[in-house]
């Protein structure tokens, strides 16, 4: 099995990250924003794995597992918040809740 070149792997990560960021900025539905966040996290994970493979070090995979754990905990809290917001506002539109404006 030939190794994936570093620049191609990082290019994939950058594309994924940009897609996720665009999703967070463009989508108004909170659920989709959360999913886009997951995409961004995974982009970071891909970057770690590719770098780990390039230098044949275990750190990249360890960091990926850490990122996965973070993502799981973030999703659990995020989903609970979304559920609460849906109960309060009966909508998942992020722009509909601006009660924290200064």
């Amino acid at each position: 099995m030939t190794a994936i070149p570093l620049d191609q792997g990082l290019g994939l990560a950058a594309a994924l990250f940009a897609l996720g960021l665009a999703g967070v900025l463009v989508r108004r539905n909170l659920l989709f924003m959360l999913m886009s966040l997951e995409v961004m996290l995974n982009a970071a994970g891909v970057a770690f794995v590719v770098a780990g493979a390039r230098w044949a070090a275990a750190d990249g995979q360890i960091m990926f597992i850490l990122v996965l754990t973070f993502a799981a905990s973030e999703v659990s809290v995020g989903l609970a918040l979304i559920l609460l917001m849906h109960r309060r506002n009966s909508t998942l539109d992020a722009d509909a809740s601006y009660h924290l404006r200064g």
């Binding site: 967070v24 900025l25 108004r28 924003m33 992020a94 809740s97 601006y98 009660h99 404006r101 200064g102």
Partner: protein, 618 residues
Amino acid sequence: MHELLWLVPTLPLLGSVILMLGAGRLSTRAEAAAGALSVGFAAVIAFTIAGGFLLNPPAGAAYEQTLWRWFDVGGLSVTIGLRLDPLSLVMMLVITGVGFLIHLFATEFMEGEEGYGRFFAYLNLFVAAMLLLVLGDNFLTLYTGWEGVGLCSYLLIGFWWRDPANGLAARKAFIVTRIGDTALLIGLLLIASRLGTLNIAGAMHNAAQSWPAGSPLATLAAFLLLGGAVGKSAQLPLQTWLPDAMAGPTPVSALIHAATMVTAGVYLIARTHALFLLAPAAQYTVGGIGAATLLLAGFSALAQNDIKRILAYSTMSQIGYMFLALGVGAWGAAMFHLLTHAFFKALLFLSAGAVTMRLHHEQDIYKMGGLARRLPVAFWSFLIGSAALAALPLVTAGFYSKEAILSGAWADGSSGRVLWAAGVFGAFITGLYIFRAVFIAFFGEAHTEVSGRYGWRVILPLSVLSVLSVLGGLIELPPALGHVTLLSNLLAPVLPASKEAASVAPLLVASLAGLLGIGLAAVLYWRPARPPAETPLWRFWHAAAGFDWLYDRLLVRPVLWAAREGADDVIDSVYDAIAWTARTLHEHVRRTQNGRVRFYTAGLAIGSISLIAIAMIR
């Protein structure tokens, strides 16, 4: 036994801390117990130590107890230490003994008042500070106590803080005495820098060594200490705060503004008498101030209708006698009068408090009348106190102490004769004004309803103080009347002996003056009818010769004017500009705080991308 000396100031302090921490959690009974017993135990220890001291005097006539070292900087080492010598012994016994009686009285007097525990917390703190003042072996400890009693005086004058007038009186007392305190502090710094020590005994020893009599430095130091004493003891020209201080509860007036704190100035001068002996000019001034104050306050007391204000002016007047005694070098006589004055003035204030307790806090003597039969306990106490104040010959303590002062003044040469004449005239005025109050308030027709009865906590202090006011003078009798010298023997190691008049004539004249005053009061006020007409003369003395008016025009108004005018000057506009800029920026920046998550995310993304771009380009 004297190892327990540190407990004497510590116990009241402990009581105060307990009352402060337990505020709102203790029952009224517990608060009264903590307040009165802490001083009571301190008094028991103080009297036990005094017994040991008298039976078995220590070497050098002083116990010294060093508690700990405060600081040691640049060759100046200051320890927290207590020194018990005959002078501080007398003061300690007065403070704890009379203080305990007043605390006991206050537990009944203050019943049902809001802030019962707060009152005793302040009062205990006062006793602790006052004991520190008289027991401290160096000037810094003394000054700590000096400021402590000033603070407690402020807190207690403004105790009934819901009335803004009381807060005003408290601030006035604090600010006016502060002028004196500042002079005292400068004086202490002068002593510390020139004599190299703050230990009182050491400084006095060094002063006598390095400063010749009449040297400018000694005179300056003595005048600065005198400034402090004048402020604390309400003498001319810083006397205006004392009558207003009567806004506090009556036990406060008895303890702080009659028996103890206001005599701190007398104590300070007696304590530093070595310095005043080096500065004759300062010592003459002390006597002059005393004579002027005793006459001014005596006349002012004649034109008052409020019983507590009469007593306040009479306190000023009696402390004037003590200053007069210090001025003519009758140090022992000043301390003797301090002692008897603490008894009879506390008695007068407490019996006046006992009267107002039953008259719904009515203090106008013209609204009392005929109380002799209806309030016999208060009447007899007030009568005994008045007799002692007016120096009724032979049977009262005040007679012997005032006699000692006038005798010392008579023996002090020609300038002493002038002061003696002022003192004798003051004795006449004293008899007149205090028996004016007695006749108007306790005789004639009744004007007010009397309700309630006295408990033992009122009767016991009044009885003890009455006995002391009568018999307290027997510790020191003039040569013509038995020649007892217990007090001067006790004070001999710390205070130089006083001169005494050899002949009996001045003694007779002074006794006659007091009797004449009482007699005139009986003639004028036996059948009192109406309050006096408001003649210009009456108004002049009612306002204590217009010092308040003068200071208001001379000092208060210019300062207020300058403060008002200076409120919008150039410097102020700089700070205004800073505030304006901050507010304007805030108005703009707060628009970005719009509560939209996606806006914030975009901001974060743009920010991070820009930072990374900058990092890469560099």
